[in-house]
Symmetry: C2
Subunit: 227 residues, 2 copies
DNA sequence: ACATACATGTCTGCAATATGACAGTCCGAC
DNA sequence: GTCGGACTGTCATATTGCAGACATGTATGT
């Protein structure tokens, strides 16, 4: 693949803001691309953690399974996000499952190459630290939600984040497309599928949202989805 | 304070393993010490995050309050652990409360000094990354526990970790001293004080543990405290 | 067009655990 | 040594939201 094309893939990651063109070229040389379609698994727990991934397009979920087959999703990631970061955090295996939720374009880089780059560029190291801090903050907020909020508050505030992150602002509200299945939302919010269904329909009844399998529309302002 | 003494304070942190004596001296120069007694608060949410802390002795808890006055403890830290790490992760305020649980000796270092040091020592950077990875793993496991385990499993497996981390191995089991209040355990496991009391007494009934306000004794092997 | 698998909608009962109340106990401060 | 506050032990009661059942709806491929 032409280096120019590779460069395109690496753009739009905040992490690489302010990097020299020379660095970016080096980055591009060490990167490989892949297209992954829905339901593909990028890695499993216990898989060797040698690679760090950059998500260029699509959505990825990071989740865990319990022994008795329950699922909990830790994060839903969109374009511009990094995953498989355990590779650069000194772990040699993954802890989670990474699965494609919407057809994705993923850049993969060997952890050694990335670490070499980090050594050369303190700026990059700083960005990485920021990113990790952000990830840590998000998961702490997740814990707080699980402990302090009830099921319908968790669902509502998830929808808030979902619309905020993935939605398009319209004159009269927001639109996200495609939408998730109720089961996916349940896994993200540690609730039951039936509860998600109920809350969703209540919100529609109150004319806050409108939804189908294909889309979620928020009528009006984001703060209507406050717990 | 003599640099030698300061050095003593900085020993026993895995993070500094393999650092050159010269580096260690530099570290020591930039470090200040403090003794904090039980119930003292080291920082609050929204406090400026300029300092990174090393816990030399005692215990610290990192926790959050909800609007309606509930508490959830994210971590209980013992000697050798780092906290306030948001300072080096690009956040300018803290998100949590850090409070002394058992009289503590704390080393504090300005984040700039620490970052300078990191730039000079790739080895330190690597250790820091490892530490952050470890922290991330712990909190992910916390989420998993909250979602997959029931109250009594959470309490039991917390006791497991508590004994493992802070206990002394005896011929016939383990001993931890001092013990926590039931409310503290409740906050750590997202359960109610009364539930903790009940589970604790059940375990005592089954002759797995023995406890009082002052100590917790595990009779026999750690794996008796498996969920 | 049909078959099949998957997703949604709705109800009902049940189990887990929080909450509130209150008595008894311990502990440190004075 | 005693007093007050905090911690522990044990109820009874309330509530939340999960689980199961099942009908309906929708997409996909042949």
């Amino acid at each position: 693949m032409a280096e120019k094309t590779k460069l395109w893939y690496l753009q739009n990651f905040n992490m690489f803001d302010g990097m020299s063109p020379k660095m970016m070229m080096e980055l591009a040389q060490n990167t490989s691309m892949q297209n992954n379609s829905k339901k593909e698994i990028i890695y499993f727990p216990e898989d060797a953690s040698n690679t760090i991934y950059f998500l260029k397009a699509g959505k990825i979920k990071i989740y865990r399974l319990s022994e008795d087959g329950k699922t909990t999703t830790l994060q839903l990631l969109g374009p511009g996000e990094i995953f498989g970061e355990s590779a650069i955090l000194g772990q040699d295996t993954h802890d989670n499952i990474a699965e494609v939720v919407e057809d994705a374009v993923v850049c993969a880089m060997d952890k050694r190459d990335f670490q070499d780059l980090m050594e050369k560029s303190p700026k990059l190291t700083l960005s990485v630290n920021k990113f990790i801090g952000w990830r840590l903050r998000k998961i702490q907020a997740h814990v707080e939600d699980l402990v302090f909020k009830n099921a319908s508050q968790r669902i509502t505030s998830f929808l808030h984040r979902y619309v905020e992150t993935f939605g398009k602002k319209m004159v009269d509200g927001w639109m996200v497309r495609p939408f998730l299945t109720h089961q996916e939302i349940a896994d993200l919010t540690a609730t039951a599928r039936q509860t998600v269904n109920q809350v969703l329909n209540e919100l529609a009844e109150q004319d806050v949202i409108k939804f189908s399998r294909r889309f979620l529309q928020l009528k009006g302002d984001l703060d209507q989805l406050e717990s």
